[in-house]
Structure formats: C-alpha cells, structure tokens
C-alpha cells in the first residue's frame, strides 16, 4: 500500500490522479482490450504485453514471434475499418509494438 508521506506537492497530486486514472481504466480495461485488439488476436499472439491508457492502447510482442506481423496486420485492418483511427507500429529493442489511439466520441 502506498502511503502519503510528507513529500512534495507533485507527489501527492500525481498519486491521487494516477489512482483515479487507474481505477477508471481498470473498470473499462476488458471492454477496451476486446474492442480494440480483439479476443482472437490476443489468443493467437501468445506472449505479449498490453497496456490500456486513456489516450492509447499499447500492444508489444517479441520481434521473433513469427505470428506477430500477420496478427498485427489483422488488428490494424480491423481497427481502421471500425474506428478509422491512427495506428503506429514501431520497433522497441527486441520488441515490435503497436499503438492504437483510443477512439474519441462526441460528448
């Protein structure tokens, strides 16, 4: 458990905001993952890391993962078809990563 100490103001502010953001995202994590990446892609990819942010969803897998490129291609195709959003693909060390911008909706 993180405790509030007598640190500086930024620390308090950020802890509070981070907690709020994390709680908000955790409630929606499952739906966001399934609606952006898709259950099938997650099953087929095997080893991967996936993080849901308030602006983007981040998906990374090893560059050695032979299935990565064909699965990423399907994820990109579906994401563009459904949301028309922007996808970025890039290498990061031994990993290949995708960033998919969370769709914005009119309020």
């Amino acid at each position: 458990m993180r405790e509030k100490g007598s640190g500086n103001k930024n620390e308090f502010d950020f802890e509070d905001i981070d907690k709020e953001v994390t709680k908000f995202l955790k409630d929606k994590e499952k739906n966001i993952k399934e609606s952006i990446i898709g259950k099938r892609a997650m099953e087929e990819l095997g080893d991967f890391t996936l993080d849901v942010g308030i602006k983007k969803t981040y998906l990374c897998t090893e560059r050695e993962n032979k299935k990565a490129y064909s699965i990423f291609t399907k994820v990109i195709e579906l994401f563009i078809q459904v949301y028309g959003g922007t996808v970025t693909i890039y290498p990061k060390g031994d990993k290949i990563c995708l960033e998919l911008i969370t769709p914005k909706r009119e309020l």
């Binding site: 955790k26 609606s35 898709g38 993080d51 064909s70």
Partner: protein
C-alpha cells in the same frame, strides 16, 4: 443468402467447370477459375473473393497448401480445401494454414454448401468481434477532457510547464508514456526536466524502470508503474 464471391482453384478443367455450375445454381458468384497457385494469387489480387475453394494437388511448383498459406498471410479470405487426399502429413500441413474446411472428394453438394455457409458465417463473426463500445469511448473522452491538464501539471516539473505544449502524455494501467518531437531544440530540455522530476519525486515509489527510445520523429519515455495494493 448467397451472392458471395467464390474463387475455385482446381487444375482439372472439367471438374472446375462442374463445380462452377453447381455453385452458381446454389446462388454463389464464381469470380474465376484458377488452375495453379500463382494464377489463384493473381485472381485474388484482381477481384478478392469472399471464399476460396482450393484443390491441394496442382500442376504447379506451388501446391494448394502453399498457395493457401500465401493467401492467408496477405488477405483475410477463408479457404476450404477440396481434395482426394487425406494422409496424415497432408492434413498436418493443411491445418497450419488454418482452413475453414477440408472436404474429401467425391463430395455431396449439400456437404459443400454446409461447409461454405459455415465458413462464411465464421468469417463474419470473427470480423464482427471488434465492437465499438460507444458509451465507453464517450466516458473516456469525457474523462480525458477533465483530467488531461491535471495529469500534465502533476507529472511535469514547474520549470518545464512553460514549454510542455510539445509533450504528449498518456497514463496507462501499467505505465506512464511521455513523448516529444526529436527535432525540436527544447525536446531534450523537456525530457531532462521530466526525468529530473520523476527522479526527485517518484523514483522511490515507481521502482525506477524508465525506458527511453526513439519512435519515428519522437523521443519517448516510458515509466513502469508499481503495483498498487488497494
């Protein structure tokens, strides 16, 4: 029901023509007949079908399984094999291409139709798997609008706030993501300031793992968050 487009890959002309007639009677549209894997790939590129019926033994260097593999790598088209061969090795090779069916010749037309319909249904449901959760994304948009400035203010040191307009920030469940254009003069000052702020304020709790990497025209910084026990 039908009007779905089907490509037949079969090197026996008479068999191919017979199959074409049967499919058309069932209401499907046959986009073409290909007698080799190479011809199949060309026809698919020219007029993408909804499904491919693929013979395995073809008069070509590339057999049906190899052609199917190439098709699946490039396009999301379901493939059903039609073949007279069912030895273990062949089935094993065919299975790797994730076919939507494997029908042994001779087959009944009802069997073919059932396989085609199931394959098309499966393909549709897989495509529809990605559902746009309008309400969720509306909530996220609202939340982001309300909190974005506070997140920036909380994470970036006071002396960097003045030039923070070129910083992109995102907070995820597991990590915090910061990026800034690599070509701008202030970018490294920004990164330096953010790193210093993190080091001074968050290192003891945030475990200290920071990854910095280039991404196109941006330099990015990722800070792994600690697991928080509620």
């Amino acid at each position: 029901m039908p009007n779905e487009k089907i490509l037949i890959v079969e090197d026996e002309k008479i068999t191919a023509m017979g199959l074409k007639n049967k499919l058309e009677k069932l209401g499907y549209k046959v986009t073409g007949l290909a007698s080799s894997g190479t011809e199949a790939l060309a026809k698919i590129a020219e007029n993408p079908p909804d499904l491919v019926l693929m013979d395995i033994v073809l008069k070509d260097d590339m057999d049906g399984i190899e052609a199917a593999k190439k098709i699946r790598e490039e396009l999301d088209v379901p493939i059903i094999y039609l073949t007279a061969y069912a030895d273990d090795e062949m089935i094993k090779r065919a299975a790797l291409t994730e076919p939507y069916g494997y029908i042994l010749k001779p087959f009944k037309i009802r069997e073919l139709k059932a396989n085609i319909e199931l394959a098309l249904y499966k393909q549709r449901s897989e495509k529809e798997e990605i559902i746009d959760f309008e309400d969720i994304y509306r909530d996220v948009t609202r939340f982001l609008k309300e909190k974005e400035e506070s997140i920036k203010r909380a994470l970036i040191a006071d002396d960097a706030v003045s030039y923070s307009s070129n910083i992109t920030l995102d907070v995820g469940i597991n990590k915090i993501y910061i990026s800034t254009p690599i070509g701008e003069r202030s970018s490294y000052d920004t990164i330096h300031s953010v790193l210093r702020n993190i080091a001074l304020n968050f290192f003891d709790k945030y475990g200290g793992k920071i990854v910095v990497y280039p991404k196109g025209d941006d330099v990015c910084l990722e800070l792994t968050k600690p697991e928080i026990k509620e």
